[in-house]
Subunit: 311 residues, 2 copies
C-alpha cells in the first residue's frame, strides 16, 4: 500500500481549487504523510498565470480516482468530483461550500467553514500546525482568496478573508490590490475562447431533488465579449444540456466592474429558474442587478425552487 | 426573529451529547450569540450523575425542531436527529462520527474530526476562541470524553483525547481515573431497567442503502444483568424491529472490564449481520472478542454488508 493520497479539487478547476490542492499537499507532506496534489481538469488562463507567476509545478491530472484515497478540497459533493471518486476512499474534506451530502463509513476530518475561499481555511491549518508559510505558498494561497472573492469584493468575503489576505500579501511581498488587478485581467481573456469553452470554463452541476442543474459563471471585466455572441453561446449551452441531460443550464456572466450579472439560460425548466430568481428571461437573457456570487445568491434560490416544485 | 438557536445532540442522548450541547451553548453565548442547549430525549443515569455532580441545569427537551435554527453536536445524520430536524435550518455541526449525508443550501460551519469525543473538539474551539474553560465546563467536557472513550480505553481514543482529558481533569480538580470509575459504575445500573428500557438506552438507527438498521449498545461492568434475561431482551428487540420497520436490530452488550462484547440480534436480516461481522448467531447470540466500539468496529462492516447485498 505505497500509493499516495491525492489532494484534488473540483471539476473545471479554478484558482482556489488548484492552489488549495498544492498548498494542502505541502502541509500534509511536512507532517509526514505521503500526499500529492492533483487536478480534475485543465487549468484556466487565470490559474495558469498564477502557477507561472509563482513558478510552481502544475499538479498532475487524475483521470480516474477509483480505488484511490482522496482528500477533497474546495468541494464536497459527488456531482462535482473527479471521475471515479464514488469508488474512491475519501479520507478528508476541506471546503467552504454548502454541505453536499457525501457519506463515509468511518469518521473523517471534514472542515467546512463559511468563508470566502478554501485558501483562507488552509492558512488557518498551517497556523494550527505551527508550520511556516513560505513566500511561494503565500502567493498561492493569496491567489486562491483573491480569485474566489473577486479581490475581496464578493458578498462571500468575510473579515477573516481580509485579515488573512493582508498577511499573505506581506509574506508573498506583493500589493494585493495590484496583484488582484492582474488576476482579474486574466479572467477577462474569456473573449479568446470558443463559445463551448466559455460556457464550460467554470461549470458546476448540482443535484436538486434528483434533477441535474448546471450553473456556470463567467467573471469578466468585458461581459460584451460573451454577450455580443449570445446566439452562439446559447447554442453551446443547449449542446451541454443535451449531453448532460440537464433540467436547465444557467450561465451567469458577471461584470466585475459593475458588480452585477447577466444570466443566460437553456434547457426545459426555464420557468423554475424564473420563479427561483424572481426574474423573467427575454430571448434566453435576464439582468440580475447586484448578483456576483453563484454560491450565495443563486444556488440556494434554485434549490428551493426545484425542491418546492417536486414537493 | 428573536428565536434562539438550539444546540442539540442525538436521540437517546448520552453524556458526550448532553455535555457538548451545554458547553457549546456556553461558548457561543460568550461570543454574543443567542444560543441555548437542548436535548432530544431523557437523560440516562450516567448523564444524570454528571449534571448532579457538576451542579448543572438539565437542558430543556426539544420536542419538535421544525422551523427552528439548529446546531447539531455529536451526530450528523437525519436518522439520529431530534424530531422535526428535516424541517429546521441547520446552521452548524460539530461531530466526530462518519459523514451522514446531510445537505444544506448555504455554506455552514461543519467541523468533524476523527477523535474519541465531541467534547475533545469543543475544548479546541474554546482554545481557538481564546475563551477560558471554567471548572464546571471542564467537568462537563471531561465527562464527555471519559464516557465516550470508556475512560480512554476504547479503540477510538486518540492522543489528543488523552492530552485534553489530562488538562481538563486539572482544571476540574479531579483524578480522571477515579472520576472515570465513578462514571462507569453509573453505566452499570442497567440492571435496574426493564428489557425495553435496556435495549433503547443507547439505540441508533442507520440508513444503509435504504434499509433501516438499528444498532444499540449497553456498556456495563455487569453484562450478566442483561444476558441472564436474554429471552425477555430479545422479545423487546423484536418489538422495536416491528415498530420501527427495522431490517435488523443488533444489540452490543459490551463488557467494560473484559473489553469485549456479546451481540444479540433480532429482525429478518440476521444473515447479513453474520456476513458483515464474520460470526454466527446461536439462539440470537454471538460473542465478539475485542469489540468495544460500535462506530469503528461494527457500523462500517454492516454498512458494507448491506451495501454489497443491494449492489
Amino acid at each position: 500500500m505505497s500509493e499516495p493520497i491525492y489532494v484534488v479539487g473540483h471539476q473545471q478547476p479554478d484558482t482556489d481549487t488548484i492552489c488549495s490542492a498544492i498548498a494542502y499537499a505541502r502541509l500534509k507532506k511536512k507532517q509526514g504523510a505521503d500526499v500529492v496534489p492533483a487536478r480534475a481538469g485543465p487549468l484556466n488562463p487565470e490559474t495558469q498565470f498564477v502557477v507561472d507567476r509563482w513558478d510552481v509545478e502544475v499538479p498532475a491530472r487524475l483521470d480516474d480516482a477509483a480505488g484511490e484515497q482522496l482528500i477533497l478540497v474546495d468541494h464536497n459533493e459527488y456531482s462535482q468530483t473527479v471521475a471515479g471518486a464514488e469508488k474512491a476512499e475519501i479520507v478528508e474534506i476541506i471546503d467552504h461550500h454548502r454541505l453536499g451530502g457525501i457519506e463515509t463509513s468511518e469518521p473523517i476530518l471534514f472542515r467546512n467553514e463559511p468563508v470566502g475561499s478554501t485558501a483562507t481555511i488552509l492558512t488557518q491549518l498551517f497556523d494550527d500546525a505551527n508550520e511556516t508559510i513560505t513566500t511561494q505558498t503565500a502567493g498561492l494561497l493569496l491567489s486562491g482568496i483573491l480569485s474566489d472573492t473577486v479581490v475581496l469584493r464578493s458578498p462571500t468575503t468575510t473579515d477573516r478573508d481580509r485579515t488573512v489576505a493582508g498577511r499573505l500579501a506581506d509574506i508573498a511581498g506583493v500589493d494585493y490590490e495590484a496583484y488582484g488587478t492582474d488576476l482579474l485581467s486574466q479572467k477577462s481573456k474569456i473573449g479568446e475562447k470558443s463559445p463551448r469553452e466559455m460556457v464550460l470554463s467554470d461549470f458546476k452541476e448540482f443535484d436538486f431533488d434528483g434533477q441535474h442543474v448546471g450553473i456556470g459563471q463567467i467573471e469578466t471585466v468585458e461581459p460584451s465579449a460573451v454577450l455580443d455572441q449570445q446566439e452562439a453561446v446559447v447554442e453551446a449551452m443547449n449542446e451541454v444540456v443535451t449531453e448532460r441531460d440537464n433540467a436547465v443550464f444557467l450561465l451567469l456572466v458577471t461584470d466585475l466592474l459593475e458588480e452585477d450579472s447577466t444570466a443566460l439560460v437553456a434547457g426545459p425548466e426555464i420557468e423554475l429558474v424564473e420563479t427561483g430568481l424572481d426574474t423573467t428571461f427575454t430571448d434566453h437573457e435576464s439582468f440580475l442587478p447586484g448578483v456576483m456570487s453563484r454560491k450565495k445568491q443563486v444556488v440556494p434560490l434554485l434549490e428551493d425552487a426545484f425542491g418546492a416544485h417536486s414537493a
